[in-house]
Symmetry: none
Subunit: 148 residues, 4 copies
DNA sequence: GTGGTCTAGACCACG
DNA sequence: GTGGTCTAGACCACA
C-alpha cells in the first residue's frame, strides 16, 4: 500500500487518506472483505498521527466503504449504493466540474472521453483483479453484477 | 443576481460565492465584459462580511475568470484556457468523482449522460444568451471559438 | 439456540450475547432451571472466543439472570426483581429513549403502542411456552406472580 | 447550562454530553435556532478537553440535532424525523428495555405509565418554553405541529 | 494487538 | 473568536 500525502495541501490529511482508499477500492487494489492496514501501522508508514488515520477510517465507515470488524479491524465492505444526499452532492460536483471545464476550453468530447477513460480504467483494473484471485466469490468487489 | 448560500455547509462561504459566479458565467448569465456587483453591495445583499465577498473576488481574479479595474470594479473576463496545474487538479477531481460514482452504483452510461447533459445545458444557455444580446462580440462569453 | 451476532456493530459482542439471552429468557425460549449451552460449545457455534462467551455469562450471572453451578454449568434462575441501581439506570434509558423518540417525530401514542405490543408479545410467548411444557412449576419462568 | 458528567462511567464522555443536549432539546431548554455554548467554553466549564466536546457536537450534527453555522457556531436545528436505521435501532432498544423490565418485575402498567409520564413531561416543558418566549415562531422548537 | 477514547497543547482557515 | 485539524503521547475495552 503506497499512499502519497501532500502535507502542504489545503485538503486535510485525513481526507487525502480517505480519497486514496476510495480510489484503491474502485481500482480493485482493495477488494471486498480485504483488511485495511491497522491504524497504527498506516500512521507510522505515512508519518502521521494515529488519530488522523482513525478519522479517515471513521469517515470511510460512515460513507459505507468499510466496516470495522471487532475481531479483524477495518475491512472493505462496499455498499454499492449511494444515498440521496450523496447523489445530490455528486450532481453539484459534476455541475461545477463541467462549468469549469467548459470555461477552461475543454470541449465536450474531451471531457466525456476523460470520464469514460477513467471509468474504463476502473473496470479493467477490477476485472484484472478478479481474474488474478482464484476465488471468484471473494473477488467480486463492489462492482454491480451487470458490469462483470 | 440571486445567490443562495448555505451557512451550515462544509464549503466555505467565499468558495460558494466563487462557485456561484463560475456557474453564472458558464451559463451565460454573466457575459464577458459584464460588471459584477460591488463587494459591499453583494455583501449586504447576501448578508455576509465584505471580507468574504472580497476573498471570493480575489479567487475569481486569480483563477482568470474576472479582472478588476479601479474604475469599473470587477468585470467578467474569462481566459478560456486552463493552465497546467488547473488541468491536473481537474483530472484528480474527475478520477475521484468517477471512482465514487462507480462504487456508488452509477453506471458509465448514467455518469456520461449526466456530464453531457450538463455540458449541453451550458451550451444552450450560452446560445440563448448570445441571441438575446445584440452585440455578438460581447455576448460570446468565454467559450473557445472551436466550440461555436 | 440461534444467536445472530453483528461483528461490525458498535455493541460489544459479549453484550450482544448477553442481550440475546435476556430476550430469550423474557420470551420464554429459555425457562427457569433450563441449562445454557456450555461456554465452549457456544463459542464454537458462534465463532467467537470462549473468553467472550464467558464474559457474557459472568454478566448475566452478575445481573441475576442465571446462576452457575459447578455440576450443571449455567442455568437460568431469574431473580424477578430489579435492584435500586438497575431501576435508576432503566429510568435513564427511558428518559433518553422518550426524548429521542419525541424529537424524532414519534408520537406518544406510537411509542406507547410499541412498548405495549412488545410487552404483550413477551406475555403471550411465555404463556405459550408454559402451556407447551408439562411441568408448570418449571415453566413459570421469571414473571412475578402478580402477572399471572 | 448545567451538565453533569460521570467520569467513571463506562459511557464515553462525548456520549454523555451528546445525551445531555438531546435531553435539553427535548425538554425545550434549548429551542430551535438557539446557540450552543462554544466548544472551548463548554470544555472549560465541564473540565474536559475541547476535542471531546467537539466530538459530541459532531455526533449531534451527524444525527440531525444541530447544525454548525459558519458564522455563529453550533445552533439547534432539529430535523424532527428519524431515518430508517435510527428507528430500527430504537426498536431494538425498546425490545430490550421491555424484556429487562418484564424480567425485573416491572408490570406493563408501570412501564407504560413511566413512558407516558416522561413524554408528558417533555410536552409540558416545551409548552412552557413556548409560552415564555414571545416569538411563537422561534419557540416552535422541534415538536411536530400536531402537538401544539 | 485492535480500535476507541481522552488529554493538553498547537496551528490554521474562516468570518 | 469560531470550529476544524493535527500532534504525541496515554489508557482502556475488546477479543
Amino acid at each position: 500500500m503506497i499512499l502519497t500525502l501532500n502535507f502542504s495541501s489545503e485538503i486535510p490529511i485525513y481526507q487525502q487518506i480517505r480519497n486514496s482508499f476510495v480510489l484503491a477500492i474502485a481500482e480493485g487494489v482493495l477488494v471486498n472483505g480485504e483488511r485495511l492496514p491497522t491504524v497504527r501501522a498506516l500512521a507510522q508508514e505515512a508519518g502521521v498521527n494515529a488519530m488522523t488515520v482513525n478519522k479517515a477510517y471513521q469517515l470511510l465507515k460512515q460513507e459505507g466503504y468499510i466496516v470495522t470488524d471487532r475481531r479483524n479491524g477495518a475491512v472493505v465492505q462496499c455498499e454499492g449504493k449511494l444515498n440521496e444526499a450523496a447523489w445530490e452532492e455528486m450532481l453539484g460536483t459534476i455541475r461545477l466540474l463541467v462549468a469549469e471545464a467548459r470555461l477552461g476550453g475543454v470541449t465536450r468530447q474531451e471531457l466525456v472521453a476523460e470520464v469514460e477513460q477513467q471509468y474504463q480504467r476502473l473496470s479493467s483494473s477490477k476485472a484484472e483483479e478478479a481474474a488474478r484471485s482464484m476465488g471468484a466469490e471473494a473477488a467480486i468487489g463492489c462492482e454491480p453484477l451487470a458490469e462483470r
